[in-house]
Symmetry: C2
Subunit: 223 residues, 2 copies
């Protein structure tokens, strides 16, 4: 996309995902424009995009804020994601070709290496994970489905909490990918669907457990 508009989008998005802009803080167009080195016009564009991805909320007076996610919001998103992404897995299993299957195997192998590193390479894990799911979504061949899921995958809180996951949790996730690959290899849509549903739901409980720990740390930090 266009340069300035893109810089604004990825700039703001990065600030939100990294936590530099904390949840609930107001997003003034002027301030953001200055920080991104562009004018307000592309910033407004970016805010609209981020709003459609639910990373940004607007109040009745059209002022923008960083969305804050309650645990029930996150649970909601995971529930929907489980439903849609398991549907994607079913479609992918029915459409996948051998080359794509090999590609997924390679990615999951890379994830395994990240998990087994000392200490575990969480960034590498997350990136591999993202690619793995992205390829499945692409293989499902439904533009609409891709659009819907797009707004569900990026969850700042979840992303940041990932660093709390232990090696076992990461390993579990990786081995569930293996089972998914087995279902793909057999072109068994129902199997893939079931495995993916379990995979996402487990991921939610990983998050919920780790988040509880984080929340307690946050509380302890209060002055």
């Amino acid at each position: 996309m266009s340069r300035a508009s893109d810089r604004a989008y990825s700039g703001i998005r990065g600030m939100i995902l990294s936590g530099e802009l904390p949840a609930g803080s107001q997003l003034g167009e002027e301030v953001l424009a200055e920080r991104c080195g562009v004018s307000r016009t592309p910033v407004r564009d970016a805010l609209r995009r981020l709003e459609s991805e639910l990373l940004v909320n607007r109040n009745e007076a059209q002022r923008s804020f960083v969305a804050d996610w309650s645990l029930s919001d996150v649970a909601d998103a995971f529930e929907l994601r489980a439903m849609l992404e398991s549907y994607a897995a079913r479609r992918a299993a029915e459409r996948i070709d051998d080359q794509t299957l090999q590609q997924l195997r390679a990615i999951n192998h890379a994830i395994l290496r990240a998990v087994q590193a000392e200490p575990p390479d969480v960034i590498g894990f997350l990136e591999g994970n993202r690619d793995f799911h992205a390829i499945i979504l692409e293989t499902a061949q439904s533009r609409r489905l891709a659009g819907l899921l797009g707004s569900l995958i990026e969850q700042p809180v979840v992303w940041r909490t990932a660093h709390q996951y232990g090696r076992d949790a990461l390993r579990r996730s990786q081995s569930e990918h293996d089972e998914l690959l087995a279902a793909f290899a057999r072109r068994d849509g129902a199997w893939a669907e079931a495995v993916m549903a379990a995979h996402i739901r487990r991921a939610f409980h990983f998050y919920a457990d780790a988040h509880q720990g984080l929340a307690m740390i946050d509380v302890a930090r209060q002055p």
Copy 2:
């Protein structure tokens, strides 16, 4: 929302839904601005919104066009809608209060009157139908779910094809709402979910049949 931006949005949206702007036609910002009586800025805003609702496509050069929906696109949207809206029905059944239930009954009674009118009042049917589903979605109490479904419900082709439906088809739809109400009255989430899934899938086949007829008419009209 703001006045000019809103006028542009509903103006363009209306032109698309009514077929005034046929599928595939280019949407020049300047032209639309003039037709809506606003400047390009709110038009750009509106186009972005419509793009996120998939009523508008943009090519690689950032030019906007009215989205054209193949039958398989529509099938795709219905499939996703069936999944999400039956989930909404389940949640609604588990959360609905007596007052809302009464409200839904009243709406469905109005739909019945529209169906029984001579000739059948298709506009009234569609409006009642929209309200009925909107209230269920609201009762489901999931902002995310509402957001996802928002982009699936408005399908220009489907809307326009509705006038091809016969009285039997409309009546069938209305009586399925009755069954949904029965499930709501019992707070039976699973029942509501199943009825809704069947309801949406039947609606798709109504559309597909009527559309086939329409498509043939269109072909016959070609010079």
